[in-house]
Symmetry: C3
Subunit: 364 residues, 3 copies
């Protein structure tokens, strides 16, 4: 009896389950799904094809050898390209668990000595290049805040050393992380990887559950998030650069009309990410459109990104998003704010062309 019923039913229907799930029929529904999953037409590669997926992007550790991607790329007749995305969070934040080990791993994977700051930058550059060779078109950055103030090179050297020695302070670690966000933008202007940024999550809110079950167990929670001030250093430097493109995501929906749409309306490099995570639902998507489009227009939308861990939910979620967009456009037509002809062209753009264009590397 919750509004997510709508998706759930779409997903269940794709497994041939049409009755409403309940405590009474739970076992039968579970068994029915299990039977289906054992059938050849429900194997992952068959579903890739049935779902009409052209490209599926994973997020990957910068030191991954991407062998799974290589193997998939070698499969004859695979319906979709499955490409990696460069997700370097823990390599950029000395306060993150595993940063020190990451320096060793980066050195090993890249052949550059990441214990020096220039070697560390070179190692990251090399790994980005490796990802590009395996099909990557984008990077992905989950950060506590969107701070992007660059450090003077001497300070960056010094903090890199302090981080290695374990003597970096909490404030210095924040300054280091923000500098590295700036450096990632600079590297994007060099290699053309599209930058995705999603700040404003308090990770592992429930420490006891984190200690018992680990990360990503449901208690990452939104924080009030600003973009206008913290992203200023990065956007002043790269926001007008034709080789740079950044897609901004938020789970604080107040940022859509106040920060993100005005930034996208001004800076050519800024695109607006789909409402995501907690906001990835029909009403929230409607509020997003209403808050963002009047300032930034449809042409700065990056298109729907479902960010799912549940493969089978992909069609239902994209279907929901498209219906929601169609409803928004239909209202504009009914209110005489857009012609039906333009509305049809717009939704085709939003669904078909725009995401392809936005997530294409900016330099060859």
């Amino acid at each position: 009896g919750t509004p997510s019923r709508y998706w759930l039913e779409s997903e269940l229907a794709s497994f041939g389950v049409t009755e409403q799930p309940s405590a009474e029929n739970a076992d039968a529904v579970f068994d029915a799904i299990g039977q289906r999953l054992a059938e050849p037409q429900f194997r992952p590669r068959a579903l890739l094809q049935r779902y009409g997926i052209d490209v599926l992007a994973t997020t990957d550790d910068p030191c991954s050898d991407l062998s799974a991607h290589a193997a998939l790329a070698a499969v004859a007749g695979l319906a979709a390209r499955v490409i990696p995305t460069f997700r370097p969070d823990r390599y950029l934040d000395p306060a993150a668990p595993g940063w020190l080990e990451g320096i060793g791993a980066l050195t090993d994977a890249s052949g550059h000595d990441a214990t020096s700051y220039p070697g560390y930058l070179d190692a990251l550059r090399a790994r980005r290049r490796y990802f590009i060779e395996h099909g990557a078109t984008a990077t992905d950055h989950g950060v506590a805040d969107a701070g992007s103030e660059p450090l003077e090179p001497a300070d960056a050297h010094r903090l890199h050393g302090a981080a290695l020695a374990g003597t970096i302070t909490a404030d210095e670690a924040v300054a280091y992380r923000r500098n590295m966000l700036f450096e990632m933008a600079r590297m994007s202007t060099e290699d053309g990887l599209v930058m995705q940024l999603h700040p404003g999550i308090l990770r592992n809110h429930d420490r006891a559950t984190f200690e018992r079950f680990g990360a990503d167990t449901g208690h990452d929670l939104p924080l009030a998030t600003g973009f206008t001030e913290p992203l200023r250093p990065l956007l002043e430097q790269f926001g007008n650069d034709p080789r740079f493109r950044i897609v901004l995501f938020t789970v604080d929906e107040t940022a859509f009309s106040r920060d993100i749409a005005p930034l996208a309306g001004y800076y050519p490099a800024v695109f607006i990410g789909a409402p995501w995570w907690f906001l990835d639902a029909p009403d929230a998507i409607g509020r997003f459109r209403s808050a963002a489009v009047e300032t930034a227009g449809f042409s700065k939308m990056a298109g729907f990104v479902d960010d799912t861990r549940a493969f089978c939910s992909i069609p239902a979620r994209h279907d929901m998003s498209r219906r929601s967009d169609a409803a928004f456009l239909a209202r504009l037509v009914v209110e005489h704010r857009m012609s039906q002809h333009d509305a049809v062209a717009t939704i085709e753009n939003l669904v078909v062309h725009q995401p392809r264009r936005v997530f294409t590397r900016t330099v060859a």
Copy 2:
């Protein structure tokens, strides 16, 4: 000519006034209401019955002897139970006017010497128990912010002494108050009183009016309010405890989709309070539903709480809330996001069952 007309008319109709009030008929309307109030069927106890009120909860000073509640409980044939709620704000905040006097009053009322910190905690425990014996099921906490960081016992002792001596600093008083919010949650796990929290009000904005007319004269105003970070210590400790239940209220509506719904979606103990005070109106209630339900579901809603000081407004406000909920559910049905059968079950739950369940003590 304002949207509140709708309620006003409901209230007036309950007094048999059907014409639109205006400058011209003001005296006549006033007299008509006065006549009605003198009739036996408009006495408070008669209205309790006519309004179909089962339970009415007041908020009370922790040192109150609750004699009025005892007297009402002894009335034969009273339609409703009128129960107290434990509202200890000024006893928990050394910066609040009257804190020092409160220590004396607590000592007198409880028989525990509240001038020591352990005695103070025992006194609060005893008064909570006294409230429970008089029917209380909940506590109510209006705080400047939702900070809940516990103090080390030695620090709490020290600050308690400093507060008694009048030497506590402003920062220490804040730390003390936040520690006491944590302690209130701990006591709730012991005695099962449901905790209601409503932070984010700047009290007595207009100092001159406050000095002339006193508190609660219309100039308590909302502040930007967060829950995710400040409530973390309290929720980490008690948010998964089956003996704990907390209902979160806000007048900063941005907190619904960003803080409150995500917290309620994760922590079993967290329930979502009704839009309240400035947000207790049809459009605001609609925005609240849209912002909270997609993340937290209907099952984490605490139900409508009207928080009125005007007894006769109760039916009109509950009626408004129910119509607003019905309109929200009707939209979900029309959009094929919910079956009509489920919508009917949901509104019955929201109005009839959920509030009873949420405001029942968690331990017997």
Copy 3:
């Protein structure tokens, strides 16, 4: 294909262009508009009349001699009054470029020696009086934040001297600016100029573009903005004064239901400015109404202010605003929250009477 089409078409239609603009017909449309602008009935004064504009207020430098206004006032048969507005931002903020030169200009324009703090206040008073003599009814203040804490006179003297000597610190300059906002409110109680306040813009976000093309080139961007706490000193002092009126504007729409409507609901002096700049569009205006009216009522609305730099857009924007208001009121009628009779009276008030009333000086 964006929602702004609606306005665009209204504007184009006023030039006799009815076809949809496109890359193909751009030159022809441009030429058609150019031809029209050369016709006598499209000269500015003819348009003033055709647009039915009664009063048009410009914003002006406090040291302007307002000779253009004087010249216009002397034109026989001009359809509209064109009045100045006192906009003193750079004279009140020692951190603003040109503050020091402004002191000299103030001295020259007013005959008061603005190098002393009392002379500076007298100079501002004299210039406000000069503006009033040229028809001004209001002041206009764009500030980084709404802080309004007054300084002790000795501190104000000292900071004025430090600002002149170039030794004022950044924090002191902020304190000085906030004190001057307070002083502007005090002067409004003396001379009756209506105060307009619009805080929360980060000016010149893109430094490189600012250095190349100057200010007001599209990269002034919104910040999270509060009013309740920062305006408290000013409103405590003047908010109940019948000689004072302040209109609050925001581009952070979260402030409507949290700060501005509650302040307007309490303080007689506070009125609610129209959604403006980034929020000056149909959906945003609808959200504004929904967020503000239930708390503050229609009677605290200042009416639509289009703040345009494009003269020819005035009719289209006012038309859009009125349609949007009509749609809002129509919904209230359909939902039985307002009678049709009241709705008609309300929109007449919002469009015709209220703006005239709100922007009339409070003292003669």
